[in-house]
């Protein structure tokens, strides 16, 4: 019953059975389900945000007394002596080792992971996709301590000749300068970390590449693209935000990996000269804290280690934020 102006009289007049206008007959389940679910989802989100904030507050509160009492510059000093009457500690050494090892891990894991994901979604025959995917995911099921043991006992012997070769032939380049460390070099740890984070990159990239709209892919092929060109123009740009997210998760794992790194790392003695070489030893934040956890005998010492943990937290946060910005900018152009 619409009038000339387009406004319906049903909106104004009472409905059948004397019901008020604009009410249904209550045949649905009602708003309770909506409210419960919405509430639960909101609560979960709030809890997660609260947990992260509380952890940040804990880290800062524990670290602040030690930081103010520090006689060295926290960010640029290489000395680590948090015990004793005058604590003096700086995290430069750990920062370099952690960042360098994680960068190597990313440089190896992301290209290989994306390539494996592309293979599984675009090139592999259908019968192979599931088993191959499970096989790659198995890498994630291996406990990190097993990676540490394997690296120490087996893998080391394979990587050592490669390191020796690089040191002998390309030793003039500062990153490959020869050092006297033979155990856990940054290079070696980076490779083991790459193997550990590979399944994360692969699994998430695989999911994203699967979602590529078939229309885009077929359109590219119809215009005469080869398979590689189709992937380059249709699949990869679509999957870029997902791949970046996957890489950030993988980077988070690489930065914080503790047990495997603790097994493999070679600590440096005090007073060793600074070198940019990737074949140098050195501890990461996580392995330093794990190694010394039993000796947290007084608040000042504990505070120093927690300050180191805080730096790791902030570092991961910054990297994730950069990734988010890149993804958001990307999204603005694809929608």
């Amino acid at each position: 019953m619409s009038t000339v102006t387009g406004v319906s009289a049903a909106d104004e007049l009472p409905g059948p059975d004397g019901r008020k206008p604009l009410t249904g007959d209550r045949a649905s389940t009602g708003r309770l389900g909506d409210r419960l679910f919405g509430g639960a989802a909101t609560l979960s989100g709030v809890i997660v945000i609260a947990m992260v904030s509380l952890i940040a507050v804990f880290l800062v509160a524990q670290a602040l007394p030690a930081l103010t009492n520090n006689s060295e510059n926290f960010l640029t000093s290489r000395v680590w002596a948090p015990g004793g009457a005058q604590p003096a500690f700086g995290i430069l050494e750990f920062l370099w080792t952690t960042v360098a090892a994680s960068t190597i891990a990313m440089a190896l894991a992301v290209p290989v992971g994306v390539a494996v994901a592309l293979f599984l979604t675009q090139y592999a025959p259908i019968w192979m996709r599931r088993p191959a995917a499970s096989l790659v995911d198995l890498l994630a099921a291996v406990p990190s301590i097993v990676y540490g043991l394997w690296g120490l006992l087996t893998f080391r012997a394979f990587v050592r000749p490669v390191e020796q070769f690089l040191q002998d032939n390309v030793g003039w380049f500062p990153l490959f300068a020869p050092t006297r460390i033979t155990g856990g070099t940054i290079f070696f740890i980076g490779i083991v970390l790459a193997i550990m984070v590979l399944p994360i990159v692969t699994a998430l990239s695989r999911e994203v590449f699967d979602q590529t709209p078939t229309a885009h892919k077929e359109g590219a092929l119809a215009l005469g693209a080869t398979q590689w060109e189709m992937i380059r123009t249709a699949v990869l740009p679509f999957g870029k935000p997902g791949v970046i997210s996957a890489s950030m998760l993988a980077l988070g794992r690489a930065l914080g990996e503790t047990i495997a790194v603790t097994f493999l790392v070679s600590a440096l003695s005090d007073g060793t000269d600074w070198t940019w070489s990737l074949f140098n030893g050195g501890e990461t934040f996580a392995s330093k804290i794990a190694n010394n956890a039993a000796e947290f005998s007084n608040p000042s010492k504990t505070g120093a280690y927690i300050a180191a943990g805080l730096v790791l937290f902030v570092l991961t946060f910054i990297v994730n934020s950069i990734a988010r910005i890149v993804i958001e900018r990307r999204k603005a152009f694809t929608e």
Binding site: A81, D270, E283, A294, E295
Partner: protein, 372 residues
């Protein structure tokens, strides 16, 4: 109600009954053993119940051996030892979380990191805390050099090696001590303990006492020399085993387990191989720095006694002299008595420890008797 619902409820009820029945009290009432002895067990004063200890990882194998010997004789006793490190053990002992602590060094009597350990322990116990030496763990200088089976070192050369001053195995200083041994020109790779460790503390104390001009660094749980750091004794031992030209300091048991060659130490009276007797000789010359029953020892690392191997580490069990709960005191006393007995001490040799020499053992036994 449907069949599946009935069986579901039945399953839940059955599981509940089984789970709740496990909640009975852990300690059955003592069956009147308090009247001392009477049963045919070797240890007439077995206890029933739990005993908790924590501390040094260097004495872990020794304590495990002692625990298994005790539990074979006393089936109802349950002793638990966590090898989380001397520092952690003392901390937990002061916090009354464990009944006694194992430590590589006696409770400190000077202020360190803001507290005085012996005072804190005394306050926590309500009575003096005693350091009872139980385990002698010799520290071996283990090396892995192809073609060299026997090596002699003295404190000065060792100090220079571990400080990075001597960098090659065919150095003149090493050759002088090893006449007739063909030393290769492999570079020396030093491995040290990257975690804070009592082994490091005792080794650096030895170097500083026996070669003060060559070793000018501080002693302590944190390594101050040169080299490559590996985590825990297992880490340094494995690394040394896998690298030609490697040298490290590690407990005797780890060197044996990893089949590493060990250097003989020349204190001035000829090279002394590491053995239970030679390590025991050094402990016998130690001076007691504690008073009365507090048997904290000051090892004379610079000892020149013939046939004494100077690099030893004595681990202490730190106990209250009078426990607040007399039951705990009885348990500790019973276990430590078994630990100090000749059979158990003798069985430790197979684990790479040296038994306490007779003079020290008698004092320890007297102190244990005085625990209440």
């Amino acid at each position: 109600m449907s069949v599946s619902r009935v069986s579901a409820i039945g399953a839940i009820a059955l599981t509940g009954v089984l789970a709740l029945s496990a909640c009975s009290s852990e300690n059955p009432a003592p069956a009147g053993n308090t009247a001392g002895g009477g049963t045919s067990a070797a240890n007439g004063d077995c206890f029933e119940g739990d005993l908790k200890a924590e501390g040094s990882s260097a004495q872990k194998n020794a304590i495990d051996e002692a625990i298994s010997a005790y539990q074979t004789a006393c089936a109802d006793a349950n002793i638990d030892y966590q090898p989380s490190g001397s520092g952690a053990g003392i901390k937990q002992f002061i916090a009354k979380q464990v009944d006694f602590a194992g430590s590589d060094s006696a409770l400190k009597t000077e202020e360190k990191d803001g507290i005085v350990e012996s005072v804190e322990a005394k306050n926590s116990c309500g009575s003096d805390a005693w350091n009872l030496p139980m385990v002698t763990g010799p520290i071996a200088i283990a090396y892995n050099v192809e073609g060299v089976d026997k090596l002699v070192l003295n404190a000065e050369v060792a100090a220079k090696i571990f400080d990075g001053k001597i960098t090659s195995w065919d150095d003149a200083a090493i050759a002088e001590l090893n006449q007739g041994v063909k030393l290769p020109s492999t570079p020396i790779k030093v491995y040290f303990r990257s975690d804070e460790s009592g082994t490091t503390e005792n080794f650096t104390k030895y170097l500083k006492a026996a070669a003060p001009e060559a070793w000018t660094h501080e002693t302590g749980k944190k390594w101050t020399g040169k080299g490559e750091g590996k985590e825990k004794s297992a880490g340094v031992a494995t690394a040394t085993q896998g690298q030609d030209g490697a040298i490290t300091y590690v407990e005797w048991s780890y060197a044996q387990q990893n089949q590493l060659a060990m250097a003989a130490i020349d204190t001035g009276s000829g090279p002394v191989e590491l053995s239970a007797e030679s390590a025991g000789k050094t402990v016998a010359t130690a001076e007691q720095t504690g008073t009365g029953n507090d048997l904290a020892l000051k090892i004379d690392y610079a000892t020149k006694e013939a046939g004494a191997y100077p690099i030893v580490l004595v681990t202490y069990e730190i106990v209250c002299s009078k426990y607040a709960d007399p039951e705990t005191g009885k348990k500790v006393k019973s276990f430590l008595k078994s630990f100090a007995s000749d059979e158990v001490q003798g069985s430790l040799t197979s684990q790479g420890y040296a038994p306490l020499p007779a003079e020290v053992a008698t004092k320890v036994e007297a102190a244990i008797d005085a625990i209440s």
